[in-house]
């Protein structure tokens, strides 16, 4: 072997990457190919999986919307302004990323289940413990850092001078952001929303602790996978897994294709 054409470093590192990706593909293939196609299709259209799809879509769309409404302004503030304690706020907002979702779930459960604020909400009709509302809040809490990070880096990459020009051309501060910065941040916004949504669909740990795993009540796709796996209904479990795989692949593709310079 010609050592100059195939240097060991090059061969070794490329091989590591290829072995890893082969491993991932094998796993995905094993899941998808485990049941027969007919069984897979019929499971997907079973009432339980249809409910799980519906609940997953509903909760993830609502939690993504919540993330957008709160994370976009927060990310803008963090990107544009300097203020006392900014680095502490930045680090704190990243905390849920490093925190195990189960721990986040415990916190949420304590907050909504035992704190006076949570009890007041429950009395007003907003019950988060063991309800779909809890799923939404769990997804929001765990995935909000993704939206913030992506939007923050997107806003930081846009020169504030665009806004300065817009202001000299007759815009108020808010109009300048609305008409210039936000349209320019569209690709980052889109990428952030897709990632947040995809993460929301897959959220399990925090949702499990706060909303529980009740069949046909708080049964999202990952919860359905967990419930059916634990009682041996492999076909149902795997159809839920297959849908989750499809969603991951699509959202990853969309992020890479349309995400522009957005990174998290």
């Amino acid at each position: 072997m010609n050592v100059f054409r195939h240097p060991p470093l090059k061969v070794g590192t490329i091989a590591a990457g290829m072995i890893l990706s082969a491993f991932i593909l094998v796993l995905l293939f094993l899941i998808v190919s485990h049941p027969s196609p007919e069984n897979l299709i019929s499971s997907m259209f079973s009432p339980e999986i249809r409910f799980a799809i519906y609940l997953s879509l509903l909760t993830s769309v609502v939690s993504t919307a919540l993330c957008i409404i709160i994370a976009v302004p927060a990310a803008y503030g963090l990107a544009r302004y300097d203020f006392l304690g900014k680095s502490i706020v930045n680090t704190t907002l990243d905390m849920p990323l490093a925190l195990p979702p189960l721990v986040a779930g415990v916190g949420l459960l304590l907050f909504f289940g035992t704190s006076p604020f949570g009890k007041a909400l429950a009395e007003a009709g907003l019950v988060f413990v063991f309800t779909p509302l809890g799923i939404i809040i769990a997804q929001f809490f765990v995935n909000m850092p993704f939206m913030i990070r992506i939007m923050r880096s997107t806003f930081e990459s846009i020169s504030p001078r665009y806004e300065y020009v817009a202001k000299t051309l007759g815009c108020t501060d808010t109009q300048a952001v609305w008409r210039v910065t936000l349209p320019m941040a569209a690709s980052g916004f889109f990428a952030g929303a897709v990632i947040t949504w995809a993460k929301g669909i897959g959220e399990f740990g925090a949702a499990l602790l706060l909303a529980g795993a009740t069949r046909m009540v708080t049964e999202t796709l990952p919860i359905s996978l967990f419930l059916n796996m634990s009682c041996g209904k492999l076909n149902l479990a795997i159809s839920a897994a297959t849908i989750l795989i499809a969603i991951s692949i699509i959202s990853l593709y969309v992020f890479e294709r349309y995400g522009g310079s957005a990174r998290f």
Partner: protein, 348 residues
């Protein structure tokens, strides 16, 4: 008339210290200074992006210090265009007029007018990122002048362009200014822009305006060593000045120079511009006060002119036209005489 009165602003890295500048209506003021001198901050403060910590900005007799940028009718053009990438050239130019809620036909008329003025009528439907640098800057200038601003602020508008485009757009700016009688503050690093565009030039350093005046005055008579250095004044020497019936004699380390521009005794700097020095092979007959013999130590082709260094005790840089250089027929090591007028020896 734009009045900037004692404006100060501390931005940490950049500062403005007690800036005062009066710009009559229609004047073209070019601001030069090293990077970090606060030039852009000054423009952005005039535009209203930043509030000064003290001082006032007045425009046409109205105090606009605390006025919102959108109510100032002051427009700004940056070096890197800052065209809104999600809008067509047309929508970029009409952006401000739409904010003013003008009638649609009026907007169309003015957009077409200013596009025509800058020669970009055929580009109106295009997206900014499909244009060349020169075209983008034309669009950015059109977007500003379509507002008919009271003051136009240009922050190194030509610096990102290649030589030929820069030259063309510089002439365009000159033409626009003459045609529109518009007040302009223009930041540049390019001295050609100073001489071709400026009615007056302001030199900034460390957040202060250190000298304001006609370009000729500032370049020929810098009021401090910094400006002499910055504008690249050659033949800068240090000496002791002695007044002697009307003329001043400046003793440098090697020569005594005679000057008519010195009015004080003591330690001074003098500069003689290279083009003010004449070179002769024979001892000159005329009675110039500053005649020295020396030796050519260097001659360099500097494009339009030849740069010759003559060591006459002090190293004098002389620029000669190519014709004069050939006529003199000098080369390194040749003995020559240099002479210059006492009025050319500028003391500061």
């Amino acid at each position: 008339m734009l009045h900037i009165e004692h404006v100060s602003k501390d931005m940490g890295e950049f500062t403005l210290k007690d800036i005062s500048l009066e710009v009559p209506q229609g004047e073209y003021v070019v601001i030069i200074g090293p990077t970090g001198a606060g030039k852009t901050i000054l423009l952005e403060t005039v535009a209203g992006i930043y509030q000064p910590e003290s001082g006032r900005v007045c425009l046409r007799g109205r105090d606009i210090t605390h006025e919102e940028p959108r109510n100032r009718n002051i427009c700004m053009v940056y070096q890197d265009y800052m065209l809104f990438p999600h809008l067509s050239v047309h929508d970029n130019i009409s952006f401000g007029l739409r904010n003013r809620k003008l009638e649609k036909p009026e907007i169309e008329r003015r957009v077409e007018e200013s596009a025509a003025l800058l020669g970009i009528s055929h580009l109106l439907h295009r997206c900014p990122d499909t244009l060349s640098g020169g075209e983008q800057q034309r669009a950015a200038i059109a977007r500003a002048i379509v507002m008919e601003p009271s003051v136009l602020l240009l922050d190194e508008p030509l610096s990102a362009l290649d030589g030929r485009t820069r030259e063309a757009l510089r002439k365009e700016l000159q033409r626009l200014h003459d045609a529109m009688d518009i007040t302009v503050l223009h930041i540049t690093h390019n001295f050609e822009e100073v001489f071709s565009l400026a009615d007056r030039v302001a030199v900034m350093n460390h957040g202060e305006i250190v000298q304001v005046g006609a370009p000729d005055e500032v370049f020929r008579k810098p009021n401090c060593e910094f400006i002499a250095d910055f504008v690249g004044v050659e033949n800068l020497f240090k000496g002791m000045c002695r007044l002697d019936n009307g003329n001043a004699v400046i003793e440098t380390e090697a020569l005594c120079l005679v000057s008519t521009t010195c009015s004080r005794d003591g330690e001074v700097f003098v500069s003689i511009r290279p083009e003010d020095i004449m070179v002769s092979r024979a001892k000159p007959e005329i009675s110039a006060q500053n005649v020295f013999s020396g030796k050519v130590t260097e001659s360099v082709d500097a494009g339009m002119v030849m740069r010759v260094v003559v060591d006459a005790g002090l190293p004098f840089v002389v620029t000669l036209t190519r014709q004069a250089y050939q006529d003199l027929d000098i080369k390194e090591g040749d003995p020559v005489y240099i002479l210059f007028k006492a009025a050319s020896v500028h003391v500061f």
